[in-house]
Amino acid sequence: MSAIAWALPALPLVVGALLLLAGRRADRGAPILGVAAGLGTLGLAVAAAVARPDVTFPLFAGLPAGMAVDGLSAVLVVTVASAALAVLVFAAGDIGPDEARARFFGLMLVFAAAMLVTVTATDLAVLLMAWEVMGAMSYALIGFWWHDDERVESANVAFLTTRAGDLGLYFAAGCAVAGTHSLSLDALPDAASPWRDLVAAGVVLAALGKSAQLPFSFWLSRAMAGPSPVSALLHSATMVAAGAYLLLRVHPLLESTGWAETLVAWAGALTALVMGAVAVAQRDLKQLLAASTVAQIGFMVLAAGVGSVAGGTAQLVAHAAVKCLLFLGAGAFLTALGTKDLSELHGAARRYRLVGVTFGVGALALAGLPPLSIWATKDTILASTPGSLYAVGLAGGVLAAAYSVKMIVAVWHPQDALTRDDAEQPGTRHVGLAEKLPMPVLAAVGVGFGIVALPGVLGPWQKLLGASGEHGPTALELVISGGLAVLVAAVVASRRVRVPRLAVAENWLYLGQAADRLVARPVLALANALAWFDDRVLDGAVRAVAAGGRAAATVTSRRVELPTDGLVDGLGRAVRRLAALARRPQTGQVHTYYAQAAVLLVVLTLVVVLVG
């Protein structure tokens, strides 16, 4: 049983590591191997979801670590494995033979493996390891085309931002050991009072950073520098989903603190609203999708905040499928037409029908149109949400409809005179079988997954996740949100209303610049100041000590050494003279010996008689 728990992350990890070690020699076979490993992983994930394995192993003395598949993990492992497989199949066609395919597939597999460990870890230590590996892989994948300095810069931004959030997880782990004497996730709510709050704060910080929630959202914009399949995986079932997953997982902890739930709920709701607006303002397809990811993850974070684990998980799965599909579509367009600018993509959907149709279906689902999946999952979340939060969430949903339809309009609008191909890179004018293959499947999931919100299905779904008793959406709520979505979609599609251009929203609220001004530059300035301090003061002191030592040595050698030396020399000379004197009595003549012996004996006698 436990073998499955080990094999599930081990298969992609080992294959990925081997591919990475083999390097370019394995480029030819890498797609086949990668897809095979993805298939195997999906099989293992399904098996694990059924068998629910549970392993514990010693990691640190007195702090047992482990991996287990419960209901939430079961859903997540299947989602992760499916998304990974879909992306790997697409990448087999999209990543050309002249690319470093072994490296790409190796990194992707390790990335997926890290996510699988993250969602099965039962303690903070294992979670942290996987969490870190995932961060490192995301860095390597975003900077996959490392010859381009700007892409590497983007990878740096993404890595540093998520890392900054990750510190919260280390902090949480330390506080967990202090508060509960264990690292177990289940034990966190039992921590003593100050520790529990500190753990919650650390976990929330790490999760918000990983999920690119406000105010960390900007890194996801920079993460678009990576290849499209990377975006597809990173935005759907790994990385950003990890933060939402973690919050859903530690929901009892958030609940126990009293304040964390509210904080998380508002962070999620506001992110959904604000980033929705940002998405509406985007004119680049991938940037729009990135902003929409943040907004949609915001709903999941909101779910964690309001205690709607079933809704949040459903949203995660539905969004994973939809977003994966949309990124694959955007990637296919980019590869074929050489552009991702919305105004240059006119007619794209008409030129590649399958991609266009599935992309349209995905976008409609993302818009929250009934009866597609996200309409239902989002409402499941909002069902548990109180008044003002509900309004914010609903507004976020309206914006989702707006940006989704904006995409559909862009790609289905007939090609016109102003549409240019290859605006960003030379396109191939070709969408291959491998690229097309995952799209219908993902589209089907995107369409149909809303079924879990139906009254008959919601109960078992909640039971699966151990979240029985949570509210389901009422008919009224469903009608309101569906109606709003349809209305907005119709308005946007009719193109009667011009969306005002907001520079703030277009530039992701200047969050990146703000981070640069408020965090990066002060830190650099502080580092420079400390470097100055180190160079001038500390190093100066060390150099001053050395110089002082030399000066003292000089003084010593002039003022002290010479007299001392002279003293030693003088002693030597004196002893030498004495030694010469000591040889004088040895004249070689017996009569002088006699005289000396006699005199000495007389002197000795006198001394002893007089003194003694």
Binding site: V575, R576, L578, A579, A580, L581, A582, R583, P585, Q586, G588, V590, Y593, Y594, Q596, A597, V599, L600, L601, L604, T605, V607, V608, V609, V611, G612
Partner: protein, 462 residues
């Protein structure tokens, strides 16, 4: 200090070591008369066998009770150690002299005279009567005079004559001292003298005159003048003998006098002599280029150190083990150093350049012996020196300990002057090495190390 009256008896068996040695010597002499010159070595072996038998008997006698035999011969730890050390070093000297004397027309005489010197020395250390002491002095001295001039060359004759004349003067002074003390104490027996001697200047004068003779045998100031001349002028083997063996008996006799008779102001007298001796010996050794003269002055300075526990006789219980341990360690180490000179056969320090290349083991042994004479652990002299300094401190003669320590530091200089050339590059052909003598060197060096390392055991037996 030894107030307990020892048991008295007159049993010749108590003198078995001496008798066996004497028997060996006489038999050797007779053998030498009747065998041809080519086979005189048989006589040498007979002498050596006698010494070995005496050594074995002496070893067995160690466990015997403390007693006086024939009214004048003490059997106590001092005598036991004197016997063992003298006979042991004599055996090594015989081994050292065996090869150089092979085929010499007076081969037998050399060995017999050596054994007689040893016998006189033992008697010197064991005597507890002034007249026996004088007789022992003569027995120890006269064969040594003959040995000093044994080569019959100019330098040998000169050194023999100097040796004899110094001995004659100091022997005379000694007899005068004995006469004076006899007159003042009305006896020559130590036991009676200890009881009856008054405490006045005349006794001090008598004691100093008596001591003068023993200082001659010990090679200490002011009777040290013969040591460098004889060490340089006579043959190296004889130099080894006269700088090693007589000292043992003389120091034992001095200690016995101090311990058993303890005249007034003994400690001060000997302390002054010790100071003068070690200082003069060290200073005079500084400029020597002749290794035999260097060693001769080294033996003078060592006599100075050895006089420290003698001065402390009766003042501290540490004095006796200190003297006995140091004297045995000194005898072995000094013999080892001289044996290197015998093995190499050269006298200038510069002749020893590159010895380490030609004979590394011999050079290493010499280094160990010289470091031993300085008093470096783990050699035997180190332990002796520690005990000696301890005795001086315990006897409240701290200034004497300081003088000894300063002298020790100063002595490093001239010993190292000899060590350094051993490891420098040789200019010409390094000297050839005599193998039998080298074997004696190795044996002696090993013994000094074993004695030093086994010092705990050696001391616990005391």
């Amino acid at each position: 200090m030894n107030t307990m009256n020892p048991m008295m008896r007159e049993n010749p068996a108590d003198l078995l070591p001496e008798l066996l040695t004497l028997f060996g010597a006489v038999l050797g002499l007779l053998t030498g008369m009747f065998v041809p010159r080519q086979r005189q070595w048989i006589a040498a072996l007979v002498c050596a066998a006698g010494v070995l038998a005496g050594l074995v008997a002496a070893a067995f006698a160690v466990s015997g009770p403390r007693l006086m035999t024939f009214d004048s011969f003490m059997l106590d730890p001092v005598t036991h150690v004197t016997r063992l050390t003298v006979l042991g070093t004599t055996l090594l000297v015989l081994a050292l002299g065996f090869a150089p004397m092979r085929g010499h027309r007076r081969e037998t005489e050399f060995h017999v005279l050596t054994v007689f010197t040893a016998l006189g020395t033992i008697a010197l250390g064991a005597a507890s009567d002034l007249l026996v002491l004088v007789a022992a002095y003569l027995l120890a001295s006269i064969p040594a005079y003959a040995l000093a001039g044994f080569r019959k060359d100019g330098k040998g004759a000169e050194s023999a004559l100097k040796y004899y004349l110094m001995g004659a003067l100091l022997g005379l002074l000694m007899l005068t001292g004995v006469t004076l003390l006899y007159g003042l104490g009305r006896s020559t027996s130590y036991e009676t003298l200890a009881r009856d001697l008054p405490s006045n200047a005349a006794v001090t004068v008598g004691a100093i005159l008596l001591v003068a003779g023993l200082l001659f045998k010990a090679g200490a100031v002011p009777a040290h003048f013969w040591v460098p001349d004889v060490a340089e002028g006579s043959s190296p083997v004889v130099a080894t003998l006269v700088t090693t063996v007589p000292k043992i008996g003389a120091l034992a006799a001095l200690f016995r006098l101090g311990d058993e008779v303890m005249p007034h102001s003994w400690a001060l007298t000997i302390a002054l002599i010790a100071t003068a001796t070690m200082t003069l010996g060290n200073l005079a050794a500084f400029g020597q280029d002749n290794v035999r003269r260097l060693l001769a002055y080294s033996t003078i300075s060592q006599a100075g150190y050895l006089l420290v526990p003698v001065a402390m006789a009766g003042r501290t219980d540490l004095a006796e083990p200190a003297l006995l341990y140091y004297v045995a360690a000194y005898a072995l180490t000094n013999l080892g150093a001289f044996a290197v000179v015998v093995a190499v056969g050269r006298d200038r320090i510069s002749d020893y350049r590159g010895l380490a290349r030609r004979s590394p083991l011999l050079a290493l042994s010499l280094v160990i012996c010289l470091l031993g004479l300085i008093g470096t652990p783990p050699t035997a002299v180190f332990v002796g020196k520690v005990l000696m300094l301890g005795a001086a401190v315990e006897g409240h003669y701290i200034w004497l300990a300081v003088v000894a320590a300063v002298n020790t530091v100063a002595s490093v200089f001239y010993y190292l002057r000899w060590v350094v050339p051993l490891y420098s590059r040789a200019e010409g052909e390094p000297p050839a090495v005599s193998r039998p003598a080298a074997l004696v060197v190795y044996l002696t060096t090993a013994l000094t190390l074993a004695l030093g390392i086994g010092s705990g055991i050696a001391l616990s037996l005391n």
